[in-house]
């Protein structure tokens, strides 16, 4: 026992060291972006990206703020859609995964195939566009940012199914059935509470997908009061990319379009990440708790 104790202590030390190194590798490039975003544009171009810039400047953030008070509003919209989308997504995903995990369910394989098929084949953007914008008119509503594409994805459904099928002892279900519980009760009372670790995972993935999304905004939103933060940023960023191609610049014949420089682009990247960095520790508290909680019960 004693030997085991010191061994695990050493092991934890080893884990900490390795993870520290990896965390630094993950963070350094991001730090580089943050520094570049406050580097004076001229210094940035003359010396390239560096951790120790010659001159600092907050011009790029000033530029972004000048783009209007729209940034705060679009943060609001992104946060709202992320929260609602994630909650709805997790609920539907777990509900769909549960029957697929029941080995005595006749159609479990049919269902699994049905879900998996959506991961491989899709009808392309035009068909989805027709579906969502013409048949179900959700254009220029907040629903357009929540419902299409991300709500239930095959990947998440399989993650949950896999967890149910392997991580939860079947005796629990059998005893619940003996107690006379129907499927709804088993799902709500037993499966949901026991699957908190995987729910936390799926919620995280779904949240990231909503946070990073700009496709729905691009296709279904034309009113800028409903733009999420990524839509705001992608417009500026991709207009730059557009003009960087020689043929487009020649086409317009207007080399005189004033484009924001590199540091502004870096500032945009930072603005896109900032709220997540601020909010994540709180989310994480629940996440880690969830993972541990689930473990204790399981």
């Amino acid at each position: 026992m004693d030997q085991n104790y010191t061994e695990s202590k050493h092991f934890r030390l080893f884990c900490t060291i390795v993870l520290t190194v990896l965390a630094v590798i993950a963070l350094l490039p991001i730090l580089l972006i943050v520094i570049a975003s406050v580097t004076d544009e001229k210094a940035l171009l003359a010396n390239g990206y560096t951790f120790f810039p010659a001159a600092l400047s907050t011009d790029s953030y000033y530029y972004m703020v000048r783009q209007g008070g729209t940034i705060l509003r679009s943060y609001g919209i992104t946060i709202l859609t992320t929260v609602v989308g994630t909650l709805g997504g997790v609920l539907f995903t777990t509900m769909l995964a549960y029957p697929m995990a029941r080995s005595s369910f006749k159609y479990r394989n049919v269902l699994a195939f049905f879900v998996f098929f959506t991961m491989l084949f899709n009808g392309g953007v035009v068909a989805s566009y027709i579906m969502w914008s013409r048949i179900i008119s959700i254009r220029n509503t907040l629903w357009a940012l929540i419902v299409p594409n991300y709500l239930v994805t095959a990947f998440n459904v399989f993650l949950v199914r896999n967890y149910y099928a392997t991580g939860i002892p079947e005796a629990l279900i059998e005893s619940a059935q003996i107690d006379g519980g129907n499927e709804f009760i088993i799902f709500l009372r037993i499966m949901l509470p026991l699957s908190i670790p995987v729910i936390a995972t799926v919620a995280l993935f779904s949240g990231l997908a909503y946070w990073n999304d700009w496709v729905n905004g691009l296709y279904y939103i034309t009113d800028p009061t409903l733009f999420g933060i990524q839509n705001l940023l992608i417009r500026i960023m991709n207009n730059i990319q557009f003009l960087k191609s020689g043929s487009n610049a020649a086409l317009l014949g207007t080399q005189a379009v004033e484009l924001p420089g590199t540091s502004v682009r870096m500032a945009m990247a930072v603005i896109g990440m900032l709220p997540v960095v601020l909010v994540f520790p709180f989310v994480q508290k629940y996440f880690i708790k969830g993972v541990v909680l689930g473990a204790v019960k399981g």
């Binding site: 029941r102 005595s104 998996f116 399981g298």
Partner: protein, 308 residues
């Protein structure tokens, strides 16, 4: 430990279960199945006035461009090899991270590690392209300016040298995704019955032995499922990774050109919706056949872990 064969062998109520699945199913029907009529585009000579159903059928004409090029082999090879490497290394690395994170339990620093490893996932490929460029560009790049100088080496022109790029792209891929993917394994490990570890502790098994004999085997179902899903998409490539990160540098095409970038570059001027649909269908069909095959194999060897 009980043999795990799915949940509850007791009779399941079919209609109740279907009802529970219904919202998700209806969503998939609306979001994915109905729009699948779009695949017709792949066989159409699309005309805007006639619309998707009125346009002329053109057989497999739209698929021709995928094969009638000297590069057909090259782009297929690159796509497959990169995906294979990403599946293998990505899985190993994510599991490695997950085990390390798990061993630290609920300590404060876990939060920090997890957050830092997740952050790269929030950056778009365009921005990541800038970062890589910041490291590798010939004049002011970090590698040439600082590292090469410190080592007294000749500067390398990174964007014209193909050799290092398979490594660079793999590294960038792992940097962006590994932290995020490790979360799946963290939650799976957390789901393992604690009494198994306690029993092993009592038997005097060390940490390494526990990891090798308990943790990793317990992760197998997850690995199998994730790998099967990845095989389904093995003909797809992450467009941003292969287009934005190498800055579209022509000299690197031998190692950076994949099916997606080839299609994109080829259709830039043509804007042909039929050909784009054909490429996507081709990628899906091949992935589908592969995954059905792989799934059949898994079903034979390890029936509990098959996808369907």
């Amino acid at each position: 430990m009980k043999k795990q064969k799915g949940l509850g062998r007791g009779r399941a109520s079919t209609w109740q279960l279907l009802l529970i699945a219904a919202p998700g199913l209806i969503y998939l029907i609306i979001n994915n199945y109905i729009p699948m009529f779009g695949v017709f585009l792949a066989f159409k000579d699309y005309n805007y006035f006639q619309g998707i159903f009125g346009s002329r059928w053109c057989g497999f004409e739209n698929f021709e461009f995928l094969f009638r090029t000297r590069d057909a082999w090259l782009i297929t090879r690159n796509t497959l090899l990169y995906n294979a490497v990403f599946i293998i290394l990505g899985t190993m690395f994510s599991i490695f991270l997950a085990i390390l994170l798990h061993e630290l339990g609920t300590r404060k620093r876990v939060k920090f590690f997890q957050a830092s490893l997740l952050l790269p996932n929030l950056l778009s490929w365009v921005v990541i392209g800038f970062i890589v460029y910041a490291f590798l560009n010939a004049d002011t790049g970090f590698m040439n300016n600082t590292v090469a100088k410190a080592l007294g080496k000749e500067p390398t022109n990174w964007y014209t040298t193909t050799g290092p790029w398979p490594f660079i792209l793999t590294l960038v891929y792992l940097w962006k995704y590994a932290g995020c993917n490790s979360i799946i394994y963290v939650s799976t490990i957390a789901g393992i019955d604690k009494s198994i570890f306690e029993a092993a502790d009592l038997d005097g098994a060390g940490k390494w032995q526990q990891i090798i004999h308990i943790t990793i085997p317990m992760l197998r179902p997850t690995v199998v499922v994730l790998t099967l899903m990845a095989i389904g998409r093995i003909f797809y490539s992450d467009f941003g990774l292969f287009y934005q990160v190498p800055q579209n540098a022509g000299r690197l095409f031998d190692v950076t050109q994949t099916i997606d970038t080839y299609v994109y570059r080829g259709l830039m001027e043509l804007n042909d919706v039929g050909m784009a649909a054909a490429a996507a269908l081709y990628q899906s069909v091949v992935g589908f056949l592969l995954v059905v095959g792989a799934n059949a194999l898994v079903r034979k060897l390890d029936p509990d872990n098959a996808l369907f």
